[in-house]
């Protein structure tokens, strides 16, 4: 396998009463080795559930109804969707780790940091001694720039700040040297100054460890800071995907253009903040044509009847829009 992770035709559905509702629709993604890949989109576009599906952590009643997620593990290629529970557990935290949006609630409040770091080691190295675990935990805390690591080990989550907790979450996620880190909005709940520190830390660690990162965010600023390649999600689909420079300079999809316009930047002349009118249609209420049609300023007759296909507009740059290609989805 050339790629570290290949997602093909992934569909995720949920149950609403007795009805099955689609939340994610035929998503294909390739994550290269040692690459940081960004997934950007508004709330409810399917970006978080994609990450959860990779680790088999979809909450009931969500489930993967179709597709494949192939992963090139240390010991050969694996189809993650077909792993037994036990095999999946050995992937989680060891091969693929995850960090979450809310560091304040991502650590168990009733155990201290040391116990929660040791746990991550002991699940995968049951014979490791207490001393070895402590040394490893201290080393990781130093690497994520936690001041006074010894003291932090015996602290409980409520005694630490959000920034410190997210550093600890990153330390836990990287403690077994995983090859892929899923970062689900890791900076959303943090102060702006802390956000920049966390992003820099993640970039540094990625360079040191050769870990690939999937960065899930709604913040294009975060994408620009950290990612090499970006997929833009809208209503359970990829609408545009390109390397980060092309995405920002040769923006093709009207939705991505809208997102970029909605970013505020200092120094630009004062104007009213741009917003894309309307909201993301929730799963189950997608129209049969282009799902962005109702909010699009350049919507055409055709857009409402047919779904545009994801086609290449430039090498390595795909977009789902009739402005660029006449091709419709089969």
């Amino acid at each position: 396998m050339d790629n570290l992770l290949e997602i093909r035709n992934l569909k995720i559905t949920t149950l609403r009463g007795k009805n099955t509702v689609r939340l994610l629709d035929r998503v294909d993604l390739n994550i290269r080795k040692k690459c940081s890949f960004g997934i950007v989109g508004e709330s409810g576009c399917g970006k978080s559930i994609t990450a959860n599906a990779i680790l088999g952590l979809l909450p009931y009643p969500l489930q993967v109804s179709e597709g494949s997620i192939r992963y090139d593990s240390k010991d050969g290629e694996k189809e993650l969707l077909k792993l037994s529970k036990k095999e999946m557990r050995s992937v989680r935290g060891q091969e693929i780790s995850m960090i979450f949006q809310e560091p304040m609630t991502s650590l168990d409040p009733i155990f201290n940091v040391e116990m929660q770091m040791n746990e991550a080691l002991s699940f995968h190295h049951p014979r490791m001694s207490k001393g070895e675990m402590r040394d490893r935990a201290l080393e990781m805390l130093r690497r994520v720039n936690i001041p006074r690591p010894e003291q932090t080990l015996s602290s409980y989550p409520h005694q630490l700040s959000g920034g410190q907790l997210q550093r600890i979450m990153i330390a836990i996620a990287l403690i077994n040297d995983p090859r892929l880190l899923l970062a689900d909005e890791p900076t959303t709940a943090l102060d702006v100054t802390i956000q920049a520190q966390i992003l820099k830390l993640m970039n540094d660690l990625k360079e040191q460890n050769d870990t690939s990162i999937i960065m899930i965010t709604h913040d294009l600023g975060v994408i620009a800071e950290t990612c090499e390649e970006v997929a833009v999600f809208y209503a359970g689909q990829i609408v545009e995907q390109a390397n980060v420079v092309d995405l920002f300079t040769q923006t093709a999809h009207p939705y991505t253009q809208g997102l970029l316009q909605a970013v505020t930047s200092l120094g630009s002349e004062t104007r009213k903040l741009y917003t894309i009118p309307g909201i993301v249609p929730p799963g189950g209420q997608w129209n049969q044509g282009c799902r962005f049609a109702d909010r699009c300023s350049r919507c055409m007759e055709k857009c409402r009847g047919q779904m545009p296909a994801l086609t290449e507009v430039a090498p390595g740059h795909v977009c789902r829009c009739f402005l660029h290609s006449e091709e419709a989805e089969a």
Partner: protein, 314 residues
Amino acid sequence: MRDYIIRRLLGLIPILIGISVAIFVIMQLIPGDVVSGILGIEQTPELREMWERKLGLDKPLVEQYFNWIGKAVTGDFGESFRTGAPVFPEIISRFKISAELAILGCIIAWIIALPLGIISALKRNSVIDRIVRVVALMGVSIPNFASATLIILFLAKGFNYHTPVKYVGLLENFGTNMEIMLLPAFILGSVMAGSVMRMTRSSMLEVLRQDYIKAVRAKGAPEKVTIFRHAFKNSSIPIVTLIGMQIGSLMGGTVVIEQIFSIPGLGQLTLTGITQRDFPVVQGCVLFIAFVYVIVNLLVDILYTYIDPRITYT
């Protein structure tokens, strides 16, 4: 922590004084008195006067109360008006029986409720969950005097069996004691189990939704670690609170069961004391029950600090 415990124990004093005054007043207000009970139809004014003098009931009410409490603070809770026996040793020996019943009831309740609550939460909306919820609701809704009577009747009519009538202590004969105690303990336990199970289920469901549970799974935790070490321990605080309140109220709450199964416990002693207007007995029993209630709650509050490091007392 030590200061906190001392403060809580000092707080007991006004509680106990308040309760003792309330009981004293209520005992005066209810019709009938102990002397009429003792004399029955043979009472004459002379006999009556003699008995009232003997029991100290001829003195003004305020003086009666202070006489009682003056001795109580030295640990002397007086003698029963009816039997003349000292009240305190009687309460202790009865309390042991009630405590055994209560503890057995709790153990039975936990053995039933905790696993079912956890399973019910994990298999939410499954057939098992539905059955468990209905059974739990029945446990909570059927009053124990009804289920007790029905079970006694059922065993007597169906199997020609009834529990031994004469009470035998735990240390005298363990087997017979269990034969006497298990059935009433089961009935007490089944009522408690209903609410403990419901609390366990809802508390577990709440915790299982938390981010840290997903984070623990993402670390590669085996399911049993996720469920017991993380989810159950986190959801145990409301369960411990509920159990603490139940143990406290069981002290008085065994009255009906003790009556139905004729177990000579504290509840039965209190009830007899009330019907006979035996003031020292009632006062002693109620104060003792209140004392146990407060101590159990204190123990629960201390237990919190071991479960949750965020809770500290200063």
